[in-house]
Point group: C2
């Protein structure tokens, strides 16, 4: 990307002033409401006399034209009928706006002559003027720290660590919202739709150099310049972990991307091989993206496959072992030292400490659980630890002490994580305590402990991340 | 199984009187509390003077010996120290008890000489007397309709349709509890641990002929008589769908089953092939068992692969198509008639009806959603329908009408299901509305509509069930 465009994109991601053009009752003033938390200036542009009183009531200054706004405008969200778009884009260029996010849809993705013509005209205008045009058919930029949002419900405040580049607006918004349950905060995100001027490689270049962004996530339906994409991806993946979710891997999925963002076809096999060569991590669904980010952010890195698997009952000790072994891990025997220590207090009637563990009636206290975790942490046969927290099981064991004990356990796990070099993964098994499990997972996430909702999801996510560290290690990185 | 044992097993599954031997403060009187809902007589047997006042306070008659109980006893739960077990078993035989569930553990699964000796002695006693001995190291029988439980929190009342045969007590209890969120009610279940006298083929024979049980689920760690198991499985699978979850498929998982229920090794490949030959459905985790049961119980049968995939946004239309196509389904073009009808009201700016559907701003009412579903229901290119309910998305569309509309939608889907011959699957995408999604899934389940928590889980479960119907169809069944 040319230097000038990169500077403008940086201005758009970190604006000091924002204008929303065309917000309306139909949209329930979604865009202006989304900007309520923005820390800089917010202007509204609307000419419909029916909408203006509502906008003023919401507390925003309204102008009839972008050109009437007194100060400079860094970033514009454009939500006007398709036929008006060229005029407003022309105003944006004249006003010296850095970036425009075009929410309006009805372009190439409709596969109509009209739609294509409009799209070509916009492309020419923006490229001619060096305007950072995001979209069309997108939700634009989210900057958590600045309170710049794509939706009125997105969280703001402390900056996050994940930069999300998403061709889909839904996925962009949903990841920022779902993250609250999982201890995942976004630094910035961009939903970029049809990608007529800037495309994924541009946003990837930006996120790769963005100091706030520690991990990059991508949802991609298609890329226009394949060679450039893979070059940029290779460089970005050297700088920080990049997780790529490709939408439209199947014939029917591709047809959907074509209606959605007019994406171009790519062979799934070739795509898969190239992304792998670049050193990026591949996922295939929203949940797998969430899980992988959680493990990347919150687990200590390891290239080892030998895990201590700690379950709370016999049936779960089998399930945890099958899930992690099928994902390529092992639950090896512990050292003699560990077994001696365990034998001194662990009652094997109804339980087992052979690895996988079946805690059963042992370790009924937080200290007991942590003692066991301490033993496997010191065990040289073990590279990482997976702990089941069975909500139903512990509620019965701990009874009236449940709330205190669970708070104590979370704190103890956080202290453990701070001093241990081994990855710790918690699997929160919900069963009939779904609400309690959700709350627990969110509380674990707040303390930087990854809580996964099933053995299988935990195993697959950990595997992806360990494979990533192994590949980097093999390259001497 | 010999006829006499089958009759005794039936008496144990449908007892008129129950005795709990050895419940204690240590267990928080779990067993007596579990029997509070039992509709017949419940007796306690306990000799410890510290426990007896608590038992009486709970409202149960306590006896010092099983032989002191005045009336007959059909089913006994035994929770006494290992060394006392032979004496009580001898009492059970003398009393003419039909079935005994032995909660006590510490037998072959400990891999100690002591444990093995005890187990051999019990086996000889029970077999000699023709006693239905369930376990040891198990939770015994659950009969929802009779209020006979394995745990004080299990639901009781109206009989369910799923009979669950589980070598693990945890999985037995968890499925009965989790079912409440998913519209799955168990008819009966048995947790049978080390299976020293009766084994899975015995319980399978029973469930196959049980008129209450419409679908059989199994969690198996190992079987003692492989040939008999597969013979019985083949016959059972002809009578009703049988879903089999094998625990200990991996080396480490097997080691866990060995510590758990002293299970014997089986080659996973051979097992897989034989279960398939028998016409049973195989799953590999608790969640996949849950999902598969839900689809079996609540979806109309089909052998077709062509689905209408209805998502609420562009990004989700791609995700739904990838998930279902990767599971072997197709989202084919609709008939010209359907397209004409859709074109008359569906705005393609921001949406698409090509299949997969991207509803976007279309069909904002319940009637609108049902109109669309009606069109694909009549479409001869379509074998089944998958509808995304995006909680976050619809809350924003429906705003203050959310509660009324969602209630109306559930009712309308239930009416649709009553008259349609095509399977309907709902995927409830939770995101930041996890609690609302859980509630919605449970409400759908109550109306017999399968709600799955992700496209991927829905796709895999539907695939398993369609494969099952295809296999039956191929056999002319």
């Amino acid at each position: 990307m040319v230097k000038d465009l990169m500077a403008k994109l940086d201005r758009a991601f970190n604006p000091r002033s924002v204008a929303v053009v065309g917000d309306s009752t139909k949209l329930d003033y979604m865009w202006l409401n989304a900007m309520r938390t923005f820390q800089g200036e917010v202007y509204s542009v609307q000419v419909n006399p029916k909408d203006i009183p509502h906008i003023q009531k919401l507390g925003f200054d309204n102008y009839h034209s972008l050109l009437d706004i007194p100060g400079p405008v860094d970033y514009v969200v454009l939500s006007v009928p398709r036929k008006v778009v060229p005029q407003i884009i022309s105003d944006c260029i004249q006003k010296g706006v850095a970036g425009v996010s075009l929410f309006t849809s009805g372009f190439a993705e409709t596969h109509t002559e009209d739609g294509l013509e409009y799209q070509q005209r916009l492309t020419a205008m923006a490229e001619g003027a060096g305007l950072v045009l995001i979209g069309p058919n997108c939700m634009g930029i989210y900057n958590r720290r600045l309170g710049l949002r794509q939706n009125p419900e997105q969280p703001v405040g402390e900056g996050g660590e994940v930069g999300f580049i998403s061709q889909s607006g839904t996925h962009a918004v949903l990841l920022s919202l779902a993250g609250a349950y999982h201890g995942i905060k976004l630094s910035k995100s961009v939903s970029y739709g049809n990608a007529i001027v800037l495309d994924s490689p541009d946003y990837l270049e930006y996120m790769a150099q963005d100091p706030e962004t520690r991990v990059i996530a991508m949802y991609i339906e298609g890329v226009k310049e394949g060679r450039r994409f893979f070059e940029v991806l290779r460089r970005a993946a050297r700088a920080k972990p990049v997780v790529v979710w490709k939408g439209g891997r199947t014939e029917d999925g591709f047809r959907a991307t074509s209606s959605h963002t007019a994406a171009l076809a790519q062979s799934p096999q070739v795509w898969h091989a190239l992304v792998k060569q670049c050193g990026a991590i591949q996922v295939d669904s929203f949940d797998s993206l969430l899980d992988t980010l959680k493990v990347l952010l919150h687990c200590k890195p390891t290239t080892g496959h030998n895990l201590a698997l700690v379950a709370m009952s016999g049936g779960q000790s089998v399930a945890i072992a099958d899930a992690f072994t099928e994902a390529g891990f092992r639950a090896p025997p512990l050292t003699e030292t560990s077994y001696r220590e365990l034998a001194s207090f662990f009652d094997i009637i109804g339980g087992s400490y052979q690895n996988p563990f079946d805690i059963a009636w042992n370790v009924p206290s937080v200290e007991g659980v942590m003692k066991l975790i301490g033993i496997v942490d010191r065990d040289e046969n073990i590279d990482g630890i997976v702990l089941e927290i069975g909500v139903f099981f512990l509620e019965r064991r701990w009874r009236e002490k449940w709330a205190d004990n669970i708070a104590g356990l979370i704190d103890a796990l956080a202290r453990f994580k701070a001093q241990s070099r081994k990855p710790l993964l918690v699997v929160v098994v919900p069963t009939n305590r779904e609400e309690a499990a959700l709350e627990l997972m969110a509380r674990l996430g707040d303390k930087g402990i990854p809580g996964l909702p099933s053995f299988e999801r935990g195993a697959v996510a950990l595997r992806r991340v360990v494979d990533y560290y192994r590949a980097r290690h093999a390259l001497g990185q």
